[in-house]
């Protein structure tokens, strides 16, 4: 019988230990499939964040470097500059990229670094137990906003992709989601494109992936997908924000 579906070579043969229904497992797989498809497994280096995906190096079957919380874009910049023939990506949560590491991502983008950034937005600090992140929606309950986020005094959610779209150094920006089959296919295409742009020297790419965190949202995996469609996607509309490639 012909085998038509297998684990990507870029994933180790270990089961994911993320929570059931977590977007990280799915997104890891999409990245691994793209790396296989582009045949770059032996020259890709990923940067793992601090956040639930701190364990990314347990799953990806290629070199990974662990950065301090929020610092992956600066680390990626240096890796790419000293090893321009390698394909460098950073994998970052919304706490990592949009809170503690906001300045790193803005300046890497402003410099137009030739790297690929995968930004996993689950509207919370997943790893530390579901506190308010800058991406938390108004009204969303978190452990630090038990009555729901209110614009006063907690401020408004941050749309990082839109913010970055004003920066000339950015080549490719797209927001995707992983809440349906169709979206997952679009997400994979965006990840592939971010890699291809880097490989053809086109410059800075960032793909924002809306991703479920059933555990900290206090929802079942299924209800989480619904919440993403009904709530998250309104504030964070999916689609292409910039393509100067």
């Amino acid at each position: 019988m012909k085998k038509i579906f297998d684990r990507p070579k870029s994933l180790k043969r270990v089961p994911f230990r993320y929570c059931p229904g977590c977007g990280h497992s799915l997104i890891h797989r999409l990245i691994a499939e793209c790396v296989d498809m582009l045949g770059i497994r032996e020259r890709v280096v990923g940067i793992a964040p601090v956040g639930c995906a701190v364990f990314a190096y347990d799953y990806f079957n290629f070199d990974m470097l662990e950065a301090a919380h929020g610092r992956p874009p600066a680390v990626a910049t240096a890796l790419k500059r000293v090893m321009p023939d390698r394909v460098i990506f950073s994998y970052q949560g919304d706490g990592d990229l949009a809170a503690i590491g906001t300045s790193e991502i803005i300046h890497a983008a402003a410099r137009g670094e030739n790297i690929s950034v995968f930004f996993v937005n689950n509207a919370t600090y997943g790893m530390t137990g579901g506190q308010m992140a800058p991406t938390t929606l108004i009204g969303q309950r978190t452990t630090t906003t038990p009555r729901g986020r209110s614009s006063r005094p907690d401020g408004y959610p941050l749309r990082v992709a839109e913010l970055l779209s004003t920066i000339e150094g950015v080549t490719y920006l797209e927001r995707v989601s992983v809440d349906s089959h169709r979206d997952v296919i679009a997400a994979k295409r965006a990840i592939e494109k971010a890699f291809v742009y880097q490989m053809t020297g086109k410059g800075f790419s960032l793909v924002e992936l809306l991703s479920p965190c059933p555990t900290d949202w206090g929802l079942s995996p299924n209800a989480s997908l619904r919440w993403m469609r009904e709530q998250m996607a309104h504030f964070f509309p999916t689609g292409l924000l910039k393509d100067a490639g």
């Binding site: 701190v54 137990g129 452990t143």
Partner: protein, 392 residues
């Protein structure tokens, strides 16, 4: 009337903060502190306190916000661990240099790399030279008591310095123990209302904090910081006396446990001191004159008092749950500085234990005391600094 409860260290300290009801609190999560500030956030949401919470985007911003709020004249708290404390480093010096009495529980955790979330003292030891007062706690009760006392110490009109209250990550922060809460009103009364000293926004007398001071007076400014630190010991003891009246619990600059007639002794911080006290008791039952010294005030360090307390011992082991690679453990360096001033001093060795949450067991303590007994009996010192509990 005190209330007896079964709570975790984080819960106890969060409750102490609730009882004090500070004006401003910087909140940002990091394991193992997260759950303390999370509890505090729910006190705010439930209207139990009137604190203004600032949910910041990093610890660097958290300490910056605390500095602003404190200079404006508020009673200010935040809490952190590990990488968070490391990221605050720049601001820690500014808080103490500006003489702002910010109170900060530090739930001790190892530092990266490699990444590790468990308890050791590398974080706070890395901040020992930042000009903050440091008080260390063996268990949840001490963490609770020390947090309450910290307000009186840091806010004392002769002191006005920020205070870190340290406790061991997970071992204390996440373990449930029996402890006694004071009455809300008693804590409020003990701590007293916040008194301002040179607040901003005083239109009659405008102020600047942290101006540029170069070769003309910077040196004098730093000496002034040293001098105020020298006054802290007395204030700590006075506050402890008042606290004893209130709670019946006695605190000093350190705890001397069966040390008076001890020949051999261990100096050890925080939770591992509890484990070691059991070892001391067992040895005492066998007729071995063993004792223990557990530092409480680490900054300023009580050199003379400690030398006095250890003066009759023959051999002492200082146990560090952090390391200064290429040097001795930080606690060892302090104790040896204290002992050097004495004519007759005990033999001194240094053991590094429990890094990144590695278990510290009674058998480790026993091993150390056995070695001390040999040294005290005239045996040679094998190695001045050694790691124990290492997997080979």
């Amino acid at each position: 009337m005190a209330k007896v409860v079964a709570v975790t260290g984080n819960e106890a300290v969060a409750n102490a903060l609730r009882q004090v009801n500070p004006d401003v609190c910087g909140i940002y999560p990091i394991t193992p502190q997260t759950d303390m500030m999370q509890r505090y956030a729910s006190f705010i949401s439930n209207g139990k306190v009137d604190t203004e919470a600032i949910l910041v985007e990093s610890e660097h911003s958290s300490m910056s916000a605390c500095i602003g709020a404190s200079a404006a004249g508020g009673r200010v708290v935040t809490a952190t661990s590990s990488q968070g404390l490391a990221l605050m480093w720049e601001m820690l010096h500014i808080a103490s240099g500006d003489r702002l009495p910010i109170i900060m529980p530090v739930v001790n955790r190892a530092l990266s790399a490699p990444l590790n979330i468990h308890g050791d003292h590398s974080d706070a030891m890395g901040a020992r030279d930042t000009g903050w007062i440091q008080i260390w706690s063996e268990n949840g009760q001490e963490a609770y008591d020390n947090t309450i006392q910290a307000f009186r110490i840091g806010e004392h009109m002769d002191i006005r310095l920020p205070v870190m209250v340290c406790m061991d990550g997970f071992i204390i922060s996440h373990s449930i123990e029996r402890l006694e809460y004071l009455e809300d009103a008693a804590v409020k009364d003990f701590v007293g209302p916040f008194k301002n000293l040179f607040p901003l926004l005083d239109l009659e007398k405008p102020k600047s904090y942290g101006p540029l001071i170069l070769t003309d007076l910077y040196h004098e400014y730093k000496r002034a910081q040293h001098e105020v630190m020298m006054k802290v010991k007395d204030v700590v003891l006075d506050v402890a006396k008042d606290f004893e009246k209130l709670s019946g619990r006695k605190y000093g600059l350190f705890e001397a446990y069966r040390l008076e007639d001890a020949d051999i002794a261990v100096v050890i911080l925080n939770s591992a001191a509890g484990t070691t006290k059991d070892v001391v008791d067992e040895l005492r039952d066998k007729g071995v004159k063993a004792g223990l010294l557990k530092p409480r005030l680490f900054r300023p360090f009580p050199y003379e008092e400690m030398a006095e307390a250890l003066k009759n011992t023959k051999a002492v082991c200082v146990m560090d749950r952090s390391d200064s690679f290429g040097g001795y453990g930080p606690l060892f360096m302090e104790v040896s500085s204290a002992l050097y001033q004495m004519k007759n001093r005990p033999a001194l060795i240094n053991k590094i234990y429990g890094l990144g949450g590695r278990d510290y067991l009674p058998s480790h303590g026993e091993m150390v005391f056995n070695e001390l007994a040999e040294i005290a009996a005239g045996g040679k010192i094998r190695a001045c600094k050694e790691y124990i509990g290492v997997r080979e």
